[in-house]
Symmetry: C2
Subunit: 303 residues, 2 copies
Amino acid sequence: MNERDALRAIAADLPAAGDDAAVVDGTVITTDMLHERTDFPPGTTRYTAGWRAVGASLSDVAAMGAAARAAVAVYADEVFDPDELDAFVAGAVDVCEAVDAEYVGGDLDEHVEFTTATTAIGDVTDAGPVTRGGARPGDALCVTGEWGRSAAALRLFKKNSDEAVERANELFRFTPRVADGLALVGAATAMMDSSDGLARSCHQLAEASGVGIEVERDAVPVHPAVEELAEGSAERFELAAHFGEDFELLCAVPEAEVDAVEAACPSGLTRIGTVTEAPEEGAPRVLADGDPLPDRGFTHGDK
Amino acid sequence: MNERDALRAIAADLPAAGDDAAVVDGTVITTDMLHERTDFPPGTTRYTAGWRAVGASLSDVAAMGAAARAAVAVYADEVFDPDELDAFVAGAVDVCEAVDAEYVGGDLDEHVEFTTATTAIGDVTDAGPVTRGGARPGDALCVTGEWGRSAAALRLFKKNSDEAVERANELFRFTPRVADGLALVGAATAMMDSSDGLARSCHQLAEASGVGIEVERDAVPVHPAVEELAEGSAERFELAAHFGEDFELLCAVPEAEVDAVEAACPSGLTRIGTVTEAPEEGAPRVLADGDPLPDRGFTHGDK
């Protein structure tokens, strides 16, 4: 059983869960766990780790169209190095400040490898949370920001020079799209963050909404670091669409509202495709330039 | 640097943290991480693990005198066994129901050993949160429930018979003292839960409040399972006071209010000692029957 099947099984039992975050009486809550071995390549500073781990949870708050309120983290390691812990907390505090939230501490734990579990809470606006399930045929499919920054960071971490590692750390410290999420509330019919990659996120949003999706490959905004590191358009699209962990927003917006919402999104909003009628039984749900876009990306337990 | 020193260092930087749970705009939030190797002895069912892990976070909500609202968990394991996952979720759902909260799911993660990170949120009442820092000389020192159940459970797990393991699992599934915490709000001047054990908790509460504490050993309510498994009063007190992980509440209550509050606590409230003036420099802060009570209990990173 892989992670997605297991999540589906849990979601079936828990009506409040199953989206990017759960909503309880107007409060959004979401939690994640990250490990040194799988999530923080050699060269990742503890400051970057604190920023990125807490940012991942804040990204889920953003994906619901909620205002971020606070975050906590469990910090587990073999030994407690005070400088590393301070750096982690500083990163956690700074990413919270970047989205007007408050980092309020957490817990420490002894563990076999550096592991962190982060939780963020947020407040739903009067327009309500935005789920993955409301996209309608004819909506524009849009994304925030530029894609592939985590893929580019991974390549830079492997280069192992001081300069490359510093750039990789910068790329890893994404700004959670809370402000964009709030700008999209009321307009977006469906929204999610892209932690599993663009391709997989398109499949998830299409499935949750019971629709199809057509993506235009060349419309996907690719991060400049990917342009620089990847050779040719096929490799660029691979890194931008299938790598994952970019923490941008993917959303469906009625055509008539795209321009107004785009102007309100501080990270930019790019139209990359169209929501279509649900495909016939057996037909591909997501197309890119007319060809099936494989449901392939980053999933724990899928190896 | 051990866990307590590290927590103190973090708390100094984060004014909102440092108690059993952080409080942000009236919402209490707290997070914990538990591991198979250190926290779930062989024989612990996944149902018990889900109950206990989520219960540990709900206990922190209780310790603030807040109403529990919801909990989430990250469930990490080497492989996802659907039956184990279902059992974990069932335990999490049931412990939430026991305190009128809602389990709203969480996340899955692949990891080298079964690990869970749980987070609970709650709502502060109009009487405000109860911190560890308000105990005053002359207050009665009180505890909920009966002590030593986790110590007794550990001994039963080691016996390894089906019957002993079943009883151990039952003992591990404590009811978080949310109803008691709510009954104590407005009366208790200081409160905390006892995850590090009675002795250590007395030291923490006395230090946070800037007071001394005198405990009467025979007044500490010992769980019947401890009475049965331990030989002699010294061993009983050791298990009840120094083992930890009991998740009962320790609080200071003005003398005049003890009887009324006791009647309102569903788990019972027992007076076990008195809050005293702060000791002179170098003198012991916590006494048990006149002798220093060592600040000894369960602390990660303290080995």
